[in-house]
């Protein structure tokens, strides 16, 4: 059943938006409201922390609200470990980790997870492989056993490999028949970052996945799976002391990875304009991203940038959504996002509109970006944005899985509980001058932009040229960026 909704926008990985309307009689007095929401800030619970002999970091938090236990295991490496030309190797390895381990073949492994109502999956990330799971608390011992098998004793069965690889290639092709709001980000990152590892499609592309062999997977596993790469956070209904003993026994003997963890080279904003036009001949609307390189996860300006993003395109009344949806009806959604990694990732605007209004929508986006860079946001908008971020933060740390993920994320970036505990103070005390400086740093200048458009090329080709030199490819091409995009 489809749920049709009022909003569908936001790409937002970090923050958000905008209404540049003047404050009206109904508007709140910012200072009063700010104090109210800041009082309701959330703190990270205290974790029992262990470092295993092999260097694995384990963080445990008891939470007995519901009879569930959740974990987030992060293994440094991820797609950064993909050799050039073998994009998707980490993703293929991630899939195969779930296809049989220890005493269980693929079917027995799936049966073991499903039969108790558990969930367990491996996700390839740009800089880590993430294993996430949730089980009923009565099945905690089984959960540890399955995780330990998956990490240390994967089978990498040749038949499963061949089948999984074929399915992944088909899935990439089939995905292009679906809603492109998700997929366009992959084209953008590939085109924008070119040869930098951040340009690699996380799931690979049809061309790079097809030739991957078992030797490639075994080499990846040898190099990038190991106890020293592991950050494991478990939150839920268990006895921490008992679980610590159990985990030490199950994971403490895991050998180190054969290679040091890969490190992403620095990134920086690109100069000049470039346009990628991806032809979908039957499209009746154009999907687009417009952006440049932004900031890293550990950037001291993260909160100021999040305020910037919230006001620009991270909430319903954002500048972008107000202009493109609320006032003009050009689109169902317009938003912006900050993608943060160890090195600066993308800061981008995203929307879509019917083919005929492509230029109108893009012109509006460029106009908003230029105006925002120049004028920043007024005091009322800043106050509202602060309040919004304060109010929306607590529900992001509501479930055991959210908490486990947060613990692993903080450890991965070398951050600590202050990132959560001081969040409300940092948001409440944001200074307009500092926010403006952050805004002018991350919102791309008009002359320095990467644009990616997916749509009916025959109808929008001329329009695309208006925004910069155009590179073209077809949606059906078995890769996500034209070869000449490498930089």
């Amino acid at each position: 059943m489809k749920g049709w909704t009022k909003t569908a926008l936001v790409l937002g990985l970090t923050a958000s938006m905008a209404g540049a309307q003047q404050p009206s009689a109904a508007a709140p007095k910012p200072q009063t409201v700010q104090r109210d929401a800041a009082r309701d800030s959330v703190k990270l619970p205290k974790a029992r922390v262990l470092t295993l002999k092999n260097g694995a970091l384990v963080q445990l938090v008891e939470d007995h609200d519901v009879p569930l236990v959740s974990f987030s295991a992060r293994l440094r490496g991820g797609a950064l470990g993909d050799p050039q030309g073998k994009e998707g190797l980490a993703a293929l390895t991630a899939e195969l980790l779930q296809k049989g381990a220890g005493a269980r073949d693929a079917h027995q492994f799936a049966e073991a997870v499903d039969s108790v109502g558990g969930s367990l999956a491996v996700y390839p990330g740009r800089e880590s492989l993430d294993v996430m799971g949730q089980f009923m608390s009565r099945d905690t011992a089984l959960m540890v056993e399955l995780l330990a098998d998956l990490l240390q004793r994967p089978r990498f069965d040749p038949a499963e490999l061949e089948k999984t690889r074929a399915r992944m290639v088909s899935e990439l092709a089939a995905e292009k028949d679906g809603d492109l709001r998700g997929l366009i980000g992959t084209y953008f990152q590939a085109f924008h970052f070119g040869a930098h590892p951040y340009g690699r499609p996380l799931g690979g592309c049809e061309a790079s996945l097809a030739p991957l062999q078992r030797e490639d997977v075994l080499a990846y596993a040898r190099a990038h799976l190991g106890g020293d790469r592991l950050i494991l956070s478990v939150v839920g209904d268990f006895d921490a002391k008992q679980l610590a003993t159990r985990l030490e026994k199950a994971l403490g003997g895991w050998a180190r990875a054969a290679s040091p963890a890969p490190v992403a080279p620095p990134t920086q904003p690109l100069k000049g304009r470039r346009v990628l036009l991806v032809d979908k001949p039957d499209a009746t609307q154009t999907y687009f991203w417009v952006g440049n390189t932004g900031i890293s996860r550990t950037d001291p300006s993260l909160v100021d940038v999040s305020l910037t993003n919230t006001a620009l395109g991270g909430r319903f009344t954002s500048l972008l959504n107000t202009a493109l949806r609320i006032k003009s009806g050009l689109t169902y959604g317009a938003g912006s996002a900050v993608i943060t990694t160890t090195q600066p990732g993308v800061f981008a605007v995203s929307s879509y509109t019917k083919t005929e209004s492509t230029t109108q929508a893009l012109d509006l986006v460029l106009e908003i970006l230029a105006g925002y860079r120049q004028q920043g946001m007024d005091a009322a908008t800043l106050a509202s944005t602060q309040e919004y971020m304060l109010g929306q933060f607590p529900p992001t740390l509501e479930t055991s899985l959210q908490l486990a993920t947060k613990f692993s994320e903080l450890a991965f970036y070398g951050l600590d509980a202050r990132d959560v505990d001081d969040f409300s103070t940092r948001v409440s005390s944001a200074e307009p001058a500092r926010v403006l400086a952050a805004l002018q740093r991350v919102v791309p200048a008009s002359e320095d932009l990467t644009l990616v458009l997916i749509g009916k090329a025959a109808d929008i080709r001329e329009a695309a040229r208006k925004y910069g030199p155009v590179t073209e490819m077809r949606l059906s091409d078995p890769f996500f960026a034209p070869p000449q995009a490498g930089r």
Binding site: A37, D40, G117, S119, M132, S170, T284, T317
Partner: protein, 466 residues
């Protein structure tokens, strides 16, 4: 993660579990001693003088609140000419009232730290607010203003048509799966308004009149046609006081005309073919199923899980792993006011063979109809259903959604807490019986999306071949 993606589907599945009331004392005791049931014991309800029912679940753990307002109106209440109007109206509810003019609802809510959304289904329209507890009174003021005094500005209506058309383009016109699903649903029903797509047909999106909108508001946006759920860092007495202050003065309206059309029994398979530029084919099968409150609903829920949920499920194993004719199989069971569709969705690889997929589905669906599933399969499905139940109860929004589902579709939110025992009571034979009832070939509509190649691409390929 996969199971998280299934939460929405699962919630609708959960909707169907309340009517199978063979209780077990042991299971009931277990439920009472659990933390969530204890929290549930703090739930209070009150019916205001205008008929609005207010249900409050205080959960102090996190300083935020979820407020869900369920209206009993969806595409089921539409007819040709005004299809999609329920959903369009959902959009209009954010576009200005008397005290808070155009844009003010969102602007004021966000300035107080709140966020909102809404969704429309065949049966209901649900408005959702998520906010810090400090904003509680402001939220009531905002909700009361739009319910009492919505303004329907013709200029805003015109702009919002563009927004909804864009939504349709994203989810249907430029999404092959959405397109096929719409065609199958429209073919499966010949009389009942469940044939109408919630987003609406294009010509109707362009054609709603001012009078249509005003009539809709008067008819369906009445306090006596709604149920309000408030879950989170609140106390019931505070919520009731605010509801009485802000919402009770809004007068009740005559009850809407009931929908009494019953879909005639289907007497033979229906087929629909969509030819579309695509890389890969799709096969959808839809069977006339059950109402949310039907006694066999929990058995059908468990059956759909046995067939499609998880990599160990029957259809995934057979079609994706063993025969390799599909790259994904998903299932869904509607659980609305009237008998809804039970679906099997199959994504094929490029060059895949829809006929082979259909043949395998025939075989597997016949198998569950003639032979009982195993004890282990039934146990597994029950465990998944119960674990999902707990996952909903981890968040305020999940609690508000689950509680509302039971209150609206089963008539009593208390049924939510009996869901685990109702799953437990299902037998293998009940699962077989419901399979035989639903998965008949004469009871189904089969949809196939047949890929076509763009002529320009075909030409380029020919040139390359020269």
């Amino acid at each position: 993660m996969l199971r998280q993606k299934l939460y929405i589907t699962g919630l609708f599945l959960l909707a169907g579990t309340s009517a199978c009331a063979q209780g077990r004392a042991a299971a009931a005791e277990t439920a009472v001693t659990t933390p969530a049931a204890k929290a549930g014991a703090r739930i209070q309800e009150r019916v205001l003088k205008n008929g609005l029912k207010v249900i409050v679940w205080p959960v102090p753990a996190n300083p935020s609140v979820s407020l869900y307002n369920w209206f009993r109106v969806g595409s089921r209440n539409e007819r040709p000419g005004i299809t999609g109007l329920s959903h369009f109206f959902e959009h209009m509810m954010f576009n200005g009232a008397k005290k808070y003019g155009p844009g003010e609802f969102d602007r004021v809510m966000e300035a107080h730290g709140g966020r909102n959304n809404a969704y429309t289904s065949e049966d209901v329209t649900v408005y959702q607010d998520w906010f810090p507890r400090s904003a509680l009174e402001t939220i009531f003021d905002l909700e009361a203003d739009r319910l009492a005094n919505l303004s329907i500005d013709p200029k805003v209506v015109e702009s919002e048509r563009g927004v909804v058309y864009s939504e349709r383009r994203s989810s249907v016109d430029n999404d092959n799966s959405g397109l096929l699903m719409e065609q199958v649903q429209a073919t499966a029903f010949v009389a009942h308004p469940y044939q109408i797509p919630v987003i609406g047909w294009p010509s109707d999106i362009e054609g709603w009149t001012q009078q249509d909108l005003e009539r809709y508001f008067r008819t369906y946006y009445a306090p006596n046609n709604a149920t309000l759920l408030v879950v989170g860092a609140v106390t019931p007495s505070d919520v009731f006081a605010l509801a009485e202050k802000y919402l009770e003065p809004i007068p009740a309206q005559p009850a809407p005309e009931p929908v009494h059309t019953v879909e005639p029994v289907q007497q033979g398979e229906r087929r629909v073919v969509v030819r579309k530029l695509a890389q890969a084919p799709l096969v959808h099968m839809a069977f006339h199923g059950l109402r949310g409150r039907d006694a066999e609903a929990p058995a059908l829920d468990l059956l759909v899980r046995i067939l499609t949920e998880g990599d160990s499920s029957r259809l995934h194993r057979r079609l994706v792993e063993e025969e390799r004719v599909a790259i994904r199989v998903q299932g869904s069971r509607g659980a609305g006011f009237d008998p809804s569709l039970t679906w099997v969705f199959v994504d094929l690889p490029p060059g895949g063979d829809p006929a082979r997929v259909e043949a395998l589905l025939d075989e597997e669906l016949a198998r569950v109809s003639t032979t009982e599933v195993t004890d282990a399969e039934l146990r597994k499905a029950k465990n998944i259903a119960v674990a999902d139940f707990w996952r909903y109860l981890e968040t305020n929004s999940g609690r508000a959604q689950a509680l509302g589902t039971y209150e609206v579709f089963h008539g009593d939110w208390k049924e939510l807490f009996r869901a685990p025992e109702r799953y437990e009571a299902v037998t293998r034979e009940q699962v077989r019986q419901v399979a035989a009832k639903v998965f008949g070939r004469d009871n189904r509509t089969v949809g196939v999306l047949v890929p076509e190649t763009a002529s320009s691409e075909a030409e380029q390929m020919q040139e390359a071949a020269r």
